[in-house]
């Protein structure tokens, strides 16, 4: 029974991985690609690790898997944030048809503030 539940979880995880990678290939823009693929692939990998934990069912695997999931959830979101910020600051343009760019507006506003105060 444990093995069946674990396999089902792993299969759902692989499905999410596939959808995230389709987003990585198909979407038009680096920011769209970051937001689609990071979320989907992190959820898929988390589900795969959860399935592995359920499959084995021992304490050692449970602790290791839980540690891996926590690290993955913290580090992937941080890495995606750093990458999108770096891409914006290095001047990667937004895709055609993008309507809003809050980070550029924010940078402009803070620059204006500095000019008025100094």
């Amino acid at each position: 029974m444990n093995e069946k539940i674990g396999l089902i979880l792993i299969a759902i995880g692989v499905l999410f991985d596939l959808l995230g990678c389709v987003g990585l290939v198909r979407l038009p823009d680096v920011y769209n690609r970051i937001q689609a693929s990071t979320k989907c692939v992190v959820l898929g990998t988390t589900l795969s690790l959860l399935g592995t934990m359920v499959w084995f069912g021992t304490t050692a695997v449970f602790v290791k898997g839980l540690l891996c999931i926590v690290f993955l959830l913290i580090t992937s979101s941080t890495a995606a944030h750093a990458l999108s910020r770096a891409a914006h600051r290095s001047g990667v343009p937004l895709a055609e048809g993008s309507v809003v760019d809050r980070y550029a507006e924010d940078l402009e506003a803070s620059n204006n503030d500095e000019e008025t105060t100094s």
């Binding site: 991985d17 596939l18 891996c68 941080t78 770096a86």
Partner: protein, 91 residues
């Protein structure tokens, strides 16, 4: 042929397709940022791959590799992001 024997090759080929898509984006991403995103995603996919290999072989110590891979991939991505902005690594 049991369900497990049928399902495990399907799952592994699904993850191989994921790796192929990431490699496509690495090879002809239009900007450097696209390539870095693809490398980051490839690292996360490999962690899931190691989890499936742990299930197939039944050896629990392989999960340590997944843990170390996640951490090293994170550090590498942060270093690449710093490089993209043009800062030095100790700033």
């Amino acid at each position: 042929m049991t369900t497990v024997e049928f399902l495990v090759p399907v799952l592994i080929s699904g993850l191989l397709i994921c790796c192929a898509m990431c490699l496509y984006r690495i090879s002809n991403g239009p900007t450097a940022a696209d390539r870095m995103v693809a490398i980051d995603i490839l690292g996360t996919v490999v962690v899931g791959f190691v989890a499936i290999i742990t299930v197939v072989t039944g050896k629990a110590y392989l999960l340590d590799i997944a843990l170390v891979w996640a951490l090293v991939s994170f550090v590498g991505t942060l270093a690449l992001a710093k490089y993209l902005v043009g800062k030095r690594l100790n700033e």
